[in-house]
Symmetry: C3
Subunit: 319 residues, 3 copies
């Protein structure tokens, strides 16, 4: 694997899921694979799971880890090409990336959507600079439009919880929120589910359809009850409007997932990428109930990251 920013960087999804599950059985099985190599974890935004799971995965592989909280620890970054930097920005992202090229064997970066300009977000104004200027493999720790290490952990978790022969029904449901939230987790989950052997539907209120470039031909149902019927897995996530970018059109029905809504399902397992706003996106009863596999999902972030780092190291070590 030469880089990891979308599902397209994976040659064989089933193979990498199996690999991650083998790593979960024996996390230290490749503990010197990364010896003498350095991964830079660059955070332009907050992180708990991604920060910790990436560090654990890297340590399990014997990689040196450099963590940079770019905003607090380094310099205010300029992102515009050709900018005359006579304002608040002190270092151009291009130069920061070139320096990371000199210091790291792998660069992993978290760069959220700004939620101001649809064009900038859709074009991945920050990640694209890493893809363009990095001379070492780039790994996304969530970008404006995708969160692929989360999605891989989601696929691992679904695989672990599939105990029947038939295809499971997987529903991605919109949830309420109080602020305009990015589309990355929703987009990414939609993209990866299309690569899995599942029946996948999305449900969200009108006005909240995700970008067609990610959802493609996936069925979108605007009635949550109808969508949840017979579901085996329900993925709960909020996002703001994509069409009317970052707007929050009024929603009259109550979309918060509750135990009552689970009754109509096939004892669906409930998933969420975390952090979650309890009693806004999900009720306490669901979060703390037996259907939740949310913490298992969080744990699988380690093995998702470790499988990807390991594949990247295979590529580096083969040179």
């Amino acid at each position: 694997m030469k880089k990891f920013t979308t599902v397209n960087d994976i040659k064989n999804l089933q193979e990498i899921i199996k690999k991650a599950l083998r790593i979960k059985e024996n996390p230290l099985s490749e503990s010197s694979k990364g010896k003498g190599k350095t991964i830079g974890l660059v955070f332009l935004n907050s992180s708990l799971r991604t920060r910790l799971s990436s560090q654990i995965a890297a340590q399990n592989l014997g990689l040196n880890v450099l963590t940079l909280n770019a905003a607090q620890e380094a310099w205010n970054l300029e992102f515009a090409d050709g900018a005359v930097m006579n304002g608040d920005t002190v270092e151009h992202i291009k130069d920061a990336i070139e320096v990371l090229n000199q210091y790291c064997d792998i660069i992993a970066v978290r760069c959220f959507a700004g939620m101001k300009s649809k064009e900038e977000d859709v074009n991945e104004s920050i990640l694209s600079q890493f893809e363009q200027h990095a001379k070492v493999p780039v790994i996304s720790l969530e970008s404006a439009t995708r969160h692929p290490l989360q999605s891989l952990a989601d696929c691992i978790t679904i695989t672990e919880n599939c105990h029947e022969e038939r295809k499971p029904k997987v529903v991605l449901t919109w949830a309420p929120h109080i602020k305009p939230i990015a589309h990355a987790v929703g987009n990414s989950f939609a993209e990866w589910m299309q690569e899995m052997d599942v029946d996948f539907v999305i449900t969200n209120p009108e006005g909240y359809d995700l970008d067609k470039n990610f959802t493609k031909d996936v069925k979108v149902i605007h009635n949550q009850d109808e969508a949840l019927k017979d579901a085996d897995f329900i993925y709960v996530k909020n996002w703001s409007s994509f069409d009317d970018y970052a707007a929050m059109p009024e929603v009259k029905e109550n979309w918060m997932l509750t135990n009552e809504k689970l009754e109509n399902t096939n004892q669906a397992k409930v998933m969420h990428c975390l952090p979650v706003r309890r009693n806004v996106e999900l009720s306490d009863e669901v979060m703390d109930g037996e259907n939740s596999i949310i913490y298992q999902q969080a744990k699988n972030r380690i093995f998702s990251a470790q499988a990807v780092f390991s594949e990247i190291l295979d590529e580096l070590n083969s040179k």
Copy 2:
């Protein structure tokens, strides 16, 4: 040892002091005991000594260390049970703890008193959630009412400086400050001294008596000169009123420790947990004088932490 949040988690105080002193002689004697295990150091508040000494102790034991500055690096946490999270908080502490359960073999946490609500602080509103939800051993790096790793370091330091057969006289003296300060260090020191073979008294101005739940039958003297007489060890620390919670009733006498006040003592050794406000809590002359064992105390934070981590690892490795 299954957890470490109070002196009650110690089976035999003399034994663990001896163990810490053996570690001080040879800090790398158990350098692979923690191999393949991870300790998460979670800071909800500032830290210098605790941060560094815990990292050194963990590294000396071969533990992987994950440090999380929760406020700056992760998400704004909700602490209220059942909260409808439609405000500023992004992640519930319960969920953060459950995720730490997935990632760490040991969770260590610093969570100061808020100094707003006596009830919340007395009930350890944050640490109690860690004790309730953590599925791995929890270590306090100072909580609302106690600072046990400091107190253990204090016991080690007193032991190192006791060269006579007779019981030493140990005085905990209140010191001036400009802000309402928490009771954790005072409470904890009082609690631990009651387990040591020492004559222990507390001195503070009227209105500043510590919580009886910690001081129990310890003699409290409101006249500092009287209390300091013949002292072998003087522990200097400020705290605000406990009865009139977080208030700072006026104090007319000068309680700042000076060389003059030491004259009446048995060449008392002076202790402080640091950070100290020079020339407010203690004079420069005392801080920089021959009676101070304050930096030795700071150094012993390493061996205090390492002895505790080692005991916790014994428990984990025996499973």
Copy 3:
């Protein structure tokens, strides 16, 4: 080497440059030299290259690394001797340093000029406290008046790019900026170039002459075109006025380095310590052009640090 804060701490500059170049060939050749020893990296200011390159250098030598972002992670520091600490400061720098003495085998510190008081900056009000109170070797990661690890990296880079017998002409040129910038990089470069076998000149607008204590007899030319003529290396850096401390007297000519200005040189290599304000200090075309050796310079920060850490470890290990 007992400490490293100026060029005077180097016994033989050519030897240490050679050592750094050997390390660059084989960075892991001394990978257990620092085993069981701890370096504390204390940042009182922002850092990207220094932070990451110091960590890599330390890891390459097997050192344990403790990083402390003092302002954000620990306590607000007092710097004034004898201060009555009844204001905003919580811990005296003396006490923080004494604690670091207990925890670290080497202390490295970044402490920029405050740019308020010429006297405080010239007297190195912060670094001098480390030099006075540290009982272990002190390494400057840039102080008020010098940036020696940068200067050593600059010497390494110039050495790598000298392919002719004759002495190269090296020009330090002032560049425009929008804020009053410290003199540390300029001072330091001037100081180190006087130890190298090069023809060295400085060019800056009138009113911007650096401190004579650093530039000594080096020729200062106020006409940039004249200075750049036949240059082999051009070091670009802004600084504010030293005489009228931190002022920014008006400059009428355009001092930003462009390709046009390079025409008059001997295909000069262009250097900058980074971060750089593009199109203010340097044009994009120079930054991204073939003459730039700026990223190579950034990479050499690793080997500069590693050579110095290695020399310090030789001293420690010989005790």
